[in-house]
Symmetry: C2
Amino acid sequence: MGLIVQKYGGTSVGSLDRIRHVAEKVIETKQQGHDVVVVVSAMSGETNRLVGLVESLAKDPDPREYSVVVSTGEMVSMALLAMCLMESGFPARSYTGAQAQIFTENKCVKARIEGIEPHALKQALQEGIIPVVAGFQGVDSYGNITTLGRGGSDTTAVALAASLEADECQIYTDVDGVYTADPRIVSEARQLSHITFEEMLELASLGAKVLQKRSVELIGKYKVPLRVLSSFHDGPGTLITYEEVAMERPLVSGIAFNRTEAKLSIIGVPDQAGVAAKILTPIGEANIDVDMIVQNKIDDGLTDLSFTVAREDYQKAMSILQKVATSLEAKGVTGDAKIAKISLVGVGMRSHSGVAPKMFQVLGDAGINIQLIATSEIKISVIVDEKYLELAVRALHAAFGLDKEANEEFDPKM
Amino acid sequence: MGLIVQKYGGTSVGSLDRIRHVAEKVIETKQQGHDVVVVVSAMSGETNRLVGLVESLAKDPDPREYSVVVSTGEMVSMALLAMCLMESGFPARSYTGAQAQIFTENKCVKARIEGIEPHALKQALQEGIIPVVAGFQGVDSYGNITTLGRGGSDTTAVALAASLEADECQIYTDVDGVYTADPRIVSEARQLSHITFEEMLELASLGAKVLQKRSVELIGKYKVPLRVLSSFHDGPGTLITYEEVAMERPLVSGIAFNRTEAKLSIIGVPDQAGVAAKILTPIGEANIDVDMIVQNKIDDGLTDLSFTVAREDYQKAMSILQKVATSLEAKGVTGDAKIAKISLVGVGMRSHSGVAPKMFQVLGDAGINIQLIATSEIKISVIVDEKYLELAVRALHAAFGLDKEANEEFDPKM
């Protein structure tokens, strides 16, 4: 008997039939003797419909009013689910962000949760009522409706689980859990029964779409036991763990990738202290986020610097870089929007140095040229030509044995 | 320079183009030097869509959750309109029922407004911000979202106008104002430039769809100067007045009618004290509202009693009446669902006794049999066979000269 926070995403509540199915899953958990707090997203498509209304009226929509409109999506799904639970004889009550007292910073969109006053929800639980909370929304100190940004329903669930000291936070989605790689690209990809928090954080940052980065950060902060599982198929999903058991872990837990970045290079810049800052500051001032940064010093007192940005910022970044190149008297600039970023992630890398050379070898054997490399303690990322993406991911998946159960049986958490 | 509360109904905000048009009308009023508070309904069709979602999930939907779902319709339209005003450079801010502090009784649907704390709205007005308030919704003392029942947006506007002591409450709708009769039935029907509150109250009760009865009651209580006008065509609309100027008023101001009632009769009941109560109490206990009631004493110690109910309650009322007839040893029961109710309304009737005889004469000349008659101080209603409805209304409209401007020029308010 414990307290479980369950979050159901947009596809999980995407139709009235799906909402009825979610009600059954909630009731199942309740009948197993647990208390349940449910967090729901808007029915799939609904947020896009609402954003569409806003965008056809205003080029630069007022953030406060934007949040009022889009927050209604979750209000509808939460109330429909609460109704459905009551129809089956289980007392339930819906809560908007304001009613659940989810307080955010005074910023109407992409607001961060600052605190939750869970009194009303605890009261409901004590009365045997299943609270159904709107994901993705909160209230600021002026009583304005705020939204957390897309994917914010995960954040709501994690913050509620932390605030209520839940025994588990379950994120129901349209995938079965976390895989060694995207199963649409690698047919041998295998679902992981567990993954460490740090690995999950890297995977989220790298664009694996299972969990939003912000919610992963939050679970790390509060050490919320979190499970990702499917609302469409039964199964244990993937549990995110906090204990380090690196020696028993495989070297590489998963492969992430994206095609959402573009690469820019400035070539032959006279090398001097602070040159990287001179190049990247104007980019940052234009609100363009830079991801990977690699600098190569060339022997004749010149240096090359390459970096990646979101692909939609490519043209803007390029025109800024051209101006910078002129003022720094660089030899030139180049760029490539058709790149892919592939990353190996695994806490086992900490204690094994052989991962990077093996990765480069595998890609080399497949005839794939590496354009940029960046590493962190538990991750190696490379940039390659976009056309080699699938080839590279499949070759790496096989070479690191991700299709095999590996040594997960040694994990004490199992 | 005054304060005007403007309410725009569902068809007035029925599309993004219509919302843009409403923004222009609000700005026009603002540019005339007035402060404006706007109340909006949901975009037309939206409430029905939301109710449809609810009804496909639950046969007997929980009232609290029902209100959560349907209240989102007004939230979307209010925020879209606020955004639109801002796009044109006019500061605006949307308010839910809770944010506007419209407090209702603790009853989630068809709740009555108990009070408004207009501090936030007054503050916004002082800052030059146009408040856009969701119609049809409020908040109860527990913080639950409540709804006022269909047409409640008019009530919201009137209550806000009273609370803010507005100089005028303007109800924008898809008709140009109040007519002498429904122009779809009587092509000669004429728009009234003004009408007394009492006449409006009778017309609303009788089913003229311009204003909801509840909002008319409210304007009477607070003597809110109210104007009904079209958001589709320019024009002065119809002003509702409070001063009595009966001598200068035409005898009859308008003709209302409906086809939404059914007639039931119990025949040959042994006449005794309290027999009407014995007949009607079981009907009331079944939550069936009775409208007209007529009792005829027959000379042989028997009495007949007829009454009308909403047509959808006809079968239910009939089966109750049959049981009552048996227990009271009545001779029998009859009924007719195909009836129409036609009413003449006018404060001039108070000082002129000739209206009723003339009405009966006109109908008789047209060969229309009158089934029931009921009168009040400023109204005469008759029940006739439904098939004579149009014929009767047109004959009465002509006979009472409603197609002519009459003596409205004598009204001191003009």
